[in-house]
Amino acid sequence: MKYVSEFRDGGLAGRLARAITAEACSGREYRIMEFCGGHTHAISRYGLRDLLPASIRFIHGPGCPVCVLPIGRIDNAIDIARRPDTILCSYGDTLRVPASGGQSLLKARAEGADVRMVYSALDALRIARAHPDREVVFFAIGFETTTPPTAVAVKQARDDNLQNFSVFCNHVLTPAAIQNILEAPAVRNLGTVPLDGFIGPSHVSTVIGSRPYEYFAAEYQKPVVIAGFEPLDVLHSVLMLVRQLNEGRFEVENQFSRAVTRNGNRKAQQAVADVFELRARFEWRGLGEVPYSALRIRPDYADLDAEHRFGLSYRSVPDAKACECGAILRGLKHPLDCKVFGNACTPETPLGSCMVSAEGACSAYFTYGRFQQTEKAS
């Protein structure tokens, strides 16, 4: 695949890795948070850790829109799906997320709710047109990448005057989450997990640009590299961070220059602005309530807003007691620090959100990294 395979070249990977090894000072640690699960995934799937010197330490951030969805929101979605004559559509990732009482959308479907996996928000629109006698609700999740498509669907529904379609909006914002992590008492006050730099999600920045990170690169004096998701991109961004740290710089650099600009995609930003507005607060799984960290549908589109249409009320539900997702999402703990990792909590029976999506830190570690730990243990 053009512009994919080239960035997976094992030979070039070796060269990048050697450059990192050469430049990383052996005396110090480079604590790098990859905010986004996509980077976590790439690190695990390609075994990048094996290529890098011990001084590079990755800390997995909260960057999986599925993992950060709080239980109460999944409960809401299940309630919608169980309404008579209702079809709930969502992306495949969300179907397995654990909700209250051992439920999930997949289980609700097994029990008779009409839950459909869609590939695109437009598929949900298509389903609504095909079933004029049913309520069709699109359970919208995702970061800034996924929000513009939802905006397009909302606008099309309005243009077509579709009466049986609505969106249950759970779109969240990356910069707010990163800021929250840096503002967390453990980080700021106690300094338990000193983070040296960030790998920023390139796909988000194709839409929002790199500029939104400039504020806290400066404010928190941490370098940020907007990085692509191919393994060479990740290695390259590590190298770029090592160089900034070695040089004492804390800039926003753009590794994914092939698709990210400083200002991002204005047209997509406009679509979002037309349809959505900031929520004053939103609960993130693991992070708790984060101010101005999510979007909701503007009052002009209230008829297309499932929260409004069905009078949904939100009830916060605490995570499983043993679950350390909160600490893991903040970079305070590692999956292996969780007592139930790999026994009560497995990808088949996830207790916490980090075990749900392949992007989740626990899931990625279970699937790709578990044997290493076992080898060390044995």
């Binding site: 997949l106 289980k107 479907r109 097994a110 029990e111 008779g112 590692h334 292996l336 620090d337 007592k339 139930v340 990792f341 790999g342 026994n343 009560a344 497995t346 088949e348 029976t349 279970f366 578990r370 044997f371 730990q373 076992t374 243990a377």
Partner: protein
Amino acid sequence: MTSGAKPGYVRPLNFRRGSVELAHGGGGRAMAQLIDELFMAAFDNPALRKGNDQAVVEPPPGRLVVATDSHVVSPLFFPGGNIGSLAVHGTINDVAMCGARPLALTAGFILEEGYPLADLRRIVESMSEAASAAGVSVVTGDTKVVERGKGDGVFINTTGIGVVPPGLELSGDRARPGDHVLVSGPIGDHGVAIMSLRESLGFEAPITSDSAALHELVAAMLDEVPQVRCLRDPTRGGVAATLNELSRQSGVGIVIREEALPIREAVDAACELLGLDPLYVANEGKLLAICPPDASERLLAVMRAHPLGSDAALIGEVIEDSHGFVQMETAFGGTRNVDWIAGEQLPRIC
């Protein structure tokens, strides 16, 4: 950094409140778990334990017999059994009807997403009990899960293999004019037991399904009367369908006597109530036997000596008829045709 991670560990299936999920058929760990904790546990035997996609068995000498049936009964549980025991009995019977000793069964499950694991376990355990009681192992199997609304709880295919001792030749095409026709007991029990559970029919009858494995009855019959021409279990379509099949295969006619047919009063009454004819109602533990006339008395005696044939009866005889009609002498001395069922039997009001 220490961890409680157990390699390959999975939380045990929740047989109390859990239900079948698509993942149980997805080829991953959930499927392996269902196979281990349910099927392997219930059917445990060396062939299955091997864990291969096929079983290897050492057959005794003789010709090999193979029979297959998919079971789609609704409801899945009924007085006298459930789809699990039925799936074992049904296929053992098809194997046994050519005089073979059943050796092994395969089991193919098609499960509907959402079906309760507790009920599935009851079904699998009944299967296992029925198989053990019959002395047959489930040597290999398969599990598929279909989306909710694409199945009906549980479908089970069983395929049976067996071995016919040399010299034995039973086949539906061997009936000859003059032969006698016997049935191993009262007819229609299974069908009536099932219908009594249909909400839309809503009646209660003191009838349990006759579901049973007949291979031992068959062995006893053939030991004593190896001249038996053919055996068949009158399942779907009832005695009428089976007699029509046999007359067609053999190119003969068959006459049965209404008065000789063993039918329980409640089966008769349920049929009256619904406008059905017991001749068309399914059986799952009965057989029809055709034998030369001089052997029928002995055959009847052997059948009656066996618990599954205690109410056996001589019900008619084979005649010459190139049209292959099955007729019945009514209790009045009149005669009528006993045709194949037309379409499915629907309860009638008129």
